[in-house]
Amino acid sequence: MNDLATFATPTEEIDLPELEKSLRSPRTLFSFCMSALTLVLTSLAIIPLFSVLLMLIWRGGPSISFSLFTSLPPAAGMVGGGIGNALVGTLLVVAIATVLSVPVGVLAGVFLAEIGRDSAAASAVRFSAKVLTGLPSILAGVFAFTMVVLLTGRFSPLAGGLALALLMLPTILLTSEEAIQMVPARMREAAIGMGATQTQTIWRVLLPTARPGILTGILLAVSRAAGETAPLLFTMTFSDYWLSSQVMAPTASLAVLIYNFSKSPFENQKEIAWAASLVLVLLVLGLNLSSRAVSRWSATK
């Protein structure tokens, strides 16, 4: 009655494969085809990215020059010109959005991760932030239009900055919360065991330790905001001139410049739009790469 005895004699029932690789075997062939399919589909997925990049370099590249960054946009039918004021405008509006959203986002992240972790307020904020992540950007523009443009009676970078801040906030908030939660519990314990108050624990241990994660979140949020067009269309509109001392006025941005000039019948303006697109993509790409560099740098430290 030895059950193992059945294993002692070779049986024909189990058909073990040949040792050599053979494409004629259906199993190997199927496996090969599936691997090839994943490769094909992966290439398909990156085609849009590379075609956009190549097209931008091909069409926009030749227009990149020093004067592109120092000149004002050309009027219809004019030659030359640049995107200087639009680049400055984009940097300004993103800076305003960052100043508005980073303190709120990071401190709210501290609250969610540390102070009121399980409170009803925290779960409400967490839920709202997740909903806000999916907010169509044009609605952020509507919000800023109502809050700032209607109140002040003019289009301004402040309104644009508020719209972008609204889009950046959930990303910053949720990544900050996660980064703070990732700080090992024993470091928090060490600080409290030293007689640190909650505030000291947060400022001296949790935030410094979570800094790379928080920075990554901020850079990702900034790179997303920099490319937004819709919220700027009716909060900042556009301007053909440099920023003046009158800051509360319509202001140019790269995204809106691209939007305007790409519809233009004039070849020169179209070329400027191509060049501006390339500059914008490189800006966003640079921010993305630096956010990855920040997280990698902290991982090796």
Partner: protein, 273 residues
């Protein structure tokens, strides 16, 4: 076997000048779970007191009562008292943050901050807004923790790059830099190899000259080697739960060579470390 309710063999309460802490954990709950009961200890100045006992007997819990680290645990309730400098640290008027500055702690896992060695040691000084020469204090704390010679050339490199044993000595340096009166050590060697363990034990003998130490250890040999006083805790399962309580405490040699309680005898005899 008789009921384990008795604990008449506790060391007599000493109120003499050499007592730094007088502890009475009458009842301690985590939510509805009664974790510890009837544990009285006297911690004497410039001695090492060891808490030993099987897993789950509440020895770490008792240790964490001594600087109110348990306040962080949700549902924690404490009945009893912990007298330190003539005050009950569980009194309403006491600030737990201030308590922890007088009674420092070293944890089971080395837990240096993700900053340089220097800044780790200076951390407590900065918390206390120390205005003097920080470098001097850092050096003396590192010397006190027998770490100075190993790290003096790399004070500004990350503490996380050190070995486990070095990290634990750094944590000791960090704790003693602010000169607390009492140092609590919660299984400080359980994550370390025997060589690093030996170093920490030697260090404790040095530290004893200036600080009062209470240590939790699951290593009986370690308690025997380092402690002046030993307290043995055991688990009472008679009421359905797992409640830790003090079986007996006294001179370490007495506890190991001539324990009065049967539980202690059984536990000591079962030693195989």
């Amino acid at each position: 076997m008789t009921s384990v309710q008795t604990n008449g063999n506790i060391a007599p309460l000493e109120n003499g000048s050499d007592s730094v802490m007088d502890v009475n954990v009458r009842e301690l709950y985590y939510g509805n779970f009664k974790a510890v009961r009837d544990t009285r200890l006297t911690i004497k100045k410039r001695t090492i007191t060891a808490l030993i006992g099987p897993s789950g007997c509440g020895k770490s819990t008792v240790l964490r009562c001594l600087n109110r680290m348990n306040d962080l645990v949700r549902g924690f309730r404490f009945h009893g008292h912990v007298h330190f400098r003539g005050k009950d640290i569980y009194d309403q008027k006491i600030d737990p943050v201030a308590v922890r500055r007088h009674i420092g702690m070293v944890f089971q896992q080395p837990n240096p901050f993700a900053m340089s060695i220097y800044r780790n040691v200076a951390f407590g000084l900065r918390l206390n807004r120390y205005r003097g020469n920080i470098m001097e204090k850092v050096e003396s704390a590192l010397r006190g923790a027998a770490l100075w010679d190993e790290v003096k050339d790399k004070l500004h490199t990350s503490a996380l790059a050190m070995s486990g044993g070095q990290q634990q000595r750094l944590c000791i340096a960090r704790a003693i830099a602010t000169q607390p009166e009492v140092l609590l050590m919660d299984e400080p060697c359980s994550a370390l190899d025997p060589v690093a363990t030996r170093k920490i034990e030697d260090l404790m003998q040095e530290l004893k000259k200036r600080f009062t130490i209470a240590i939790v250890t699951h290593n009986l040999q370690q308690a025997k080697r380092v402690a002046d006083t030993t307290a043995f805790l055991y688990v009472d399962t008679s009421q359905g739960g797992r409640t830790g309580y003090l079986v007996e405490s006294g001179d370490t040699r007495e506890i190991f060579e001539n324990p009065r309680e049967k539980y202690t005898q059984d536990y000591i005899r079962g030693e195989f470390s």
